[in-house]
Symmetry: C2
Subunit: 113 residues, 2 copies
Amino acid sequence: MKQTHEIKIARLKEAFKASSQEYRQACYQLFGWRVDRTKEGRYKLSSQYAESPDDFLFFHVGEEGVDMLETDFSANLGSLIEQYLQKQRSVPMFLNAVQSDLFSQQTVTNVMI
Amino acid sequence: MKQTHEIKIARLKEAFKASSQEYRQACYQLFGWRVDRTKEGRYKLSSQYAESPDDFLFFHVGEEGVDMLETDFSANLGSLIEQYLQKQRSVPMFLNAVQSDLFSQQTVTNVMI
């Protein structure tokens, strides 16, 4: 009886793991961003178009909204931060702009190779 | 003993539910898209900038890649589909373009009001 319960719990954990993996993978393929929750409310975003795995962003997502935390990569995004986060106040539009820039750079690099 | 196990299972389910809700909510706030898994491999995307809840997109995400399924909303996106899905072959760049269009339309509407 005890074993049955343990098996049930193990299966439940497996099912949950598979289902969250599927959702994360879908987000990655749809948006081109890998979204890793590093701790409560904190998310690391890495673009599928980034040149280097060091080019990631960090966000704190809370009830009062979304804040970007500084990373080496974000330190070079001053004009996009000003235009999209400060003026337009839109995190989605900011991420769009970052992604579009990375995509164009990659396309240019590929053409040059 | 049986009750303890049932409580454990119930708590586990609660914890899973809360954790996936948090992740979905973070994706919504970061990307501006609500992503609902409707059945295996099938995802419904609704933009936070859409004028109507009927303006949604459907995608099939599988191991061989991502396909967009036609909806009433996608039927009006012919030029973006051609440019981003067919020529550039990038779902993220397609969703960026759709989102940017919806955002500009919303901004224009707000300015007009």
